[in-house]
Symmetry: C4
Subunit: 272 residues, 4 copies
Amino acid sequence: MKKQRTVKERLQHIIFDYNTVPAKMFDLVLIAAIILSVTVVMLDSVGWIHEGYGGVLYAVEWFFTVLFTMEYALRLYASKTRLKYVTSFYGIIDFLAILPTYFSLFFPGTQYLLVIRFFRVLRIFRLLKLMKFVSEGEMVIASLRASFRKIFVFWFFIIVLVSIIGALMYLIEGEENGFHSIPEGVYWAIVTVTTVGFGDISPQTTVGRALASLLMITGYSVIAVPTGIVSVEMAVMNKKMNTDLPRRDQCCSDVRHDEDAKYCKVCGQPLD
Amino acid sequence: MKKQRTVKERLQHIIFDYNTVPAKMFDLVLIAAIILSVTVVMLDSVGWIHEGYGGVLYAVEWFFTVLFTMEYALRLYASKTRLKYVTSFYGIIDFLAILPTYFSLFFPGTQYLLVIRFFRVLRIFRLLKLMKFVSEGEMVIASLRASFRKIFVFWFFIIVLVSIIGALMYLIEGEENGFHSIPEGVYWAIVTVTTVGFGDISPQTTVGRALASLLMITGYSVIAVPTGIVSVEMAVMNKKMNTDLPRRDQCCSDVRHDEDAKYCKVCGQPLD
Amino acid sequence: MKKQRTVKERLQHIIFDYNTVPAKMFDLVLIAAIILSVTVVMLDSVGWIHEGYGGVLYAVEWFFTVLFTMEYALRLYASKTRLKYVTSFYGIIDFLAILPTYFSLFFPGTQYLLVIRFFRVLRIFRLLKLMKFVSEGEMVIASLRASFRKIFVFWFFIIVLVSIIGALMYLIEGEENGFHSIPEGVYWAIVTVTTVGFGDISPQTTVGRALASLLMITGYSVIAVPTGIVSVEMAVMNKKMNTDLPRRDQCCSDVRHDEDAKYCKVCGQPLD
Amino acid sequence: MKKQRTVKERLQHIIFDYNTVPAKMFDLVLIAAIILSVTVVMLDSVGWIHEGYGGVLYAVEWFFTVLFTMEYALRLYASKTRLKYVTSFYGIIDFLAILPTYFSLFFPGTQYLLVIRFFRVLRIFRLLKLMKFVSEGEMVIASLRASFRKIFVFWFFIIVLVSIIGALMYLIEGEENGFHSIPEGVYWAIVTVTTVGFGDISPQTTVGRALASLLMITGYSVIAVPTGIVSVEMAVMNKKMNTDLPRRDQCCSDVRHDEDAKYCKVCGQPLD
C-alpha cells in the first residue's frame, strides 16, 4: 500500500520535499514565520516600541524560538542522513537561528543576532524554483561566479590603490583634518572610490583635495570595470541559455550515460 | 453628411483621439495647464513666495482645479464607456488630481498632494507617439519589464543582505554612534550599499568601519548586476527591433536609386 | 607664383587651417594661452593668492584679454565669410571670452566669467583630429546622440518621479527636518536618486526614511537604464565603425555621385 | 654537470624565475613579508597602538627594512643586467620601498611612505600567472588600455565641464555658502558629478541648487559613458579570447569520448 507511510516518512515528505502541496504549504508557513520573527526582533530594537510593547514582543520572540526549536528537532528526527543535514549550510543556519534567544538569557543584547534567521528565508528559492523564477536567479549567480576571478583581480588592484592613497592622505591632511591614522585614511579612500562619500571625513587642504579629485575621477572610470565584466558574462550566459534552453532539462534523462560521466554528453549539463 | 456630428462626437474626437489637429491642440494645452498648475503648487510651498503671492497662487490653484473639474465632467460626458474610463489608470489619476484642492478646504496642507497631477503629464506619451519618440520609450519599458524577474531576485538578495548588516551595525556601533535601532541600521545599510551615503549616520568604531568597507566594496560590484541585466535586455531588444523594422524611413522607396546603389542617397540607410 | 600670397591669405592659412605646420603651431600656442589664462582667473579667486599676487594676476589677465582681442580682430579681418564666423559657435565663444575683463571695469566680479574661455579649448579637437583621436571622440558623441531620445524619455520619467517624491517628503518630513518647500524636496530627491547624497538635508522620520529607502533602491536599478542605453549604442557604433572603417574615407571621392545625392551611394556616408 | 651551478646562478633561479618550487616559495615568502610590513606601518599610525606597542613596531619596521635591503642587494648581485634591473619598474619600486625607514631617521613622519612597499605586491601577478588568474587580469588591463583613448576624450570633456560649473557656482553661491574660490567650486563639481557627494560643501541658494540638479542629472547620464566604453571593449576582448583559445582545459583530449559525444564528459566543454 503506497499510502501506508510511517509518520517519519510523511514528515520527510512535508519537510524536505518541495513539489507536493503539503510541502509547499509547510515552506510558505515557515517563510512567513521567519519574516514575522525577524520583524519582531527589529521592532524590539526601536526604543519607544520596546518600552511600550517590550513584554509582548519578548513573548512572541520566545514563541517563535520554541517553534523553530521544535521544527529543528523534527528535521533532525525526519532526516535520513542526520549528520549530513546537521553539517549542511541550511542545517547550520537552522541551528544558529535558534541559539540567540537562549543565549540572551545569559548575555543580554545577543537576541539581536536573531536576524541571522533571515538567512533561512533563502529557502524561498526552493519555492521560487517551482515558480520558474529560478533560472533568473541562477543566471545572476552564474554570471557573478563566472566574473569572480576578474572581479578578484580588480579588488586586489583596488585594495593596493586605496592603501597607498589612504597613507598619502594621512600624511597630507593629518590628524587636525580628521585623518587620525592610515587605516582611517584607507577607510576614507574606500568611501570615496566607491562613490559613497559619507562626508564624516573629508579633505580640507588644497593638495588633499587635488588628490581626492584624482581618486574620484579615476574611481569614476574604475566603477566601469566590474559593470563591464558582469555585463559581458551576462550577455554570454544569456546567449548560452537561449541556445540551450530547449534541451536543457530533457536530454540528460533520455540519453544513456557512461557510469563515469559527470556531464551529459549531449548538452554538457552536469549530471547528479 | 460626414460633417454633421453631434457635440458629443466632436468632444470624443478632441478629447480621446490624438491624431487630428484639434485633438493634438487639446492635449498640448492640457499638458501646459498641468505643468503650470503643478508649478504653482510647488511655488506656493516656498515660504517667502507664499507670504508675498499666496493670495494670487491660491486663486490660480482654484482656477486650475475648476478647469480640471470641468474637463473631468466633459470626459465623463463624452466617454462611450463611462465605467471603463472611471476605473482606468488615467480615469483614476484624473479624479485624484482634482480632489486635493477641495479637501484642503477641510484639511489644510493637503493641497500639496496636488502634485499627483503630474502623473497626468504621462499623457504626453500619447503625443510623443506621433513624434516617433514612442519606440524609444517602449524599448526602455520593455527592457525593464524583461529584466524585472532578475532584478526581483536581486532585490530579494539586497534586502536579506542589508537586514543582516543593519542588525550587526546596531550591535557593533550602538546608540552612542547614531545607530538607535535595527531599522535605522538597515536604513544606513541601504544608504551605503546604493552608494548614496548621506553621512547623517556613519560608523565610528574600527569594527564598524571594517564592516562598512566590506559592504561598500561588495556594493560596488553588486551595482554591476542590474546594470548588466538591463544592458543585456536592451541589446536583445535592440537587435529584435532592428530586425522587425528593416527600414525606418520611407524615403528609400519613394526615391529612384541607381542600380548599383547600396545605400539610399537621400537618407543614407542601406538598401536591400 | 604660388608663394606670392597676400598677408590676408597667409593669415587665413595660419588661423583657419589646421593641417600645416604654422597652423598647428598657432593652435597649440593658442590652447596653451587659453589654459594659462583660465588658470590665472581660477588662482585669482583664491583669497590668499589674490592678496599676495592680485596685482600681477590682474596684469596677466589684461595681457591675455588684449591678446585674445587682437586675435579676434585678426580672425575677423582674415575671415572670408565674416558674418558666418561671427555667428558661428566658435565665433560667439571667441567674442564672449574677451568680454568679461572689459565688463569687470564696470561690474566687479564679472571677470570670473572668463572661465567661459575654457570652451575655446574645444578647438583642441581640431588638433586631435590630426592625432587620430577624433574617431574616439566622434564615437562617444555619436553614441550619446543616438541615445539622446531614449535618455530624454528617461529624464522625463525621472522628473515626474522626483517631483512626486519631493512633494511627499515635504508633507512627511516638514520644515522642522529641513524640507522647507516642495522645490527643496525635489532637490533632495534628485540628490538622492542620482546617488550623490550630500547629506545637508536628510529624512529623520521613520516614514520619510522608508520612502527614501524605496527611492534609493529604485534609483539603484534606474541608474542601470542610461548605462544600458549608451552601452548598446556604443556596441552598435563599434560594430559599424569596424565594418565601415576600410572604405570610410576613400569610396566617396572615387565614386561618381548624382548631383542631388546627399549621401554616398556606396558607403552611406554623408557627402559635403 | 647540470647541478654544478654557482651560488649566483642559484640565486638567479630563486629570485628572478617563477616556475620552479624554490622560486615560488621565495615569492610567496616575499609577498607575505611585504603585506606584514605594510600592516605594521598602518597599525603604527593608529594613536593608541603607537603608544602601547610603538617600540615593538619600530623594531619590526627596521627588521623588515634590513631584510628588504638585503634582498635588494641580493637582487643587484644576482641580476645579469644590473642597470636594466635598477631602472626597471620593479627595480625602482624595490629601491623606493626601503628608503623611507632610513629617511625617517632624519625626517620623522616619512616612514609612512613605506606603504609604497605595497606596490611590490604587484609581483603577485607573476604567481597568479601560474594559477591561471593571469588571463583574467590581462583581459581587464587590455580592455582598459583599449578604452584609454575614448576615456581620455571623456575626461577632457569632464574637466572643461567641471571648470565652468565650478566658476559659476563660485559666482552664484559665494564665500558665505562655503564656495571660497573657483578651485573649491571645481572640487565641489568633481565631488558632485562623480556622485560621491561628501556634503562638506553644498549649495544653499535656489539658483545654485538648480544648477547642481542639472549637473547631477547630467552626471547621471555621463556616468554611463565610461561604463559603455569598457563594456564594449570587454565584449570585443571576450569574443577574441574565446576565438583564440578554442579549448581551455586539456582533459578533453586526454579522455576517450564516445563517437556521438558533443560535450566532454569530464569537464562539460564542447568538443569539435
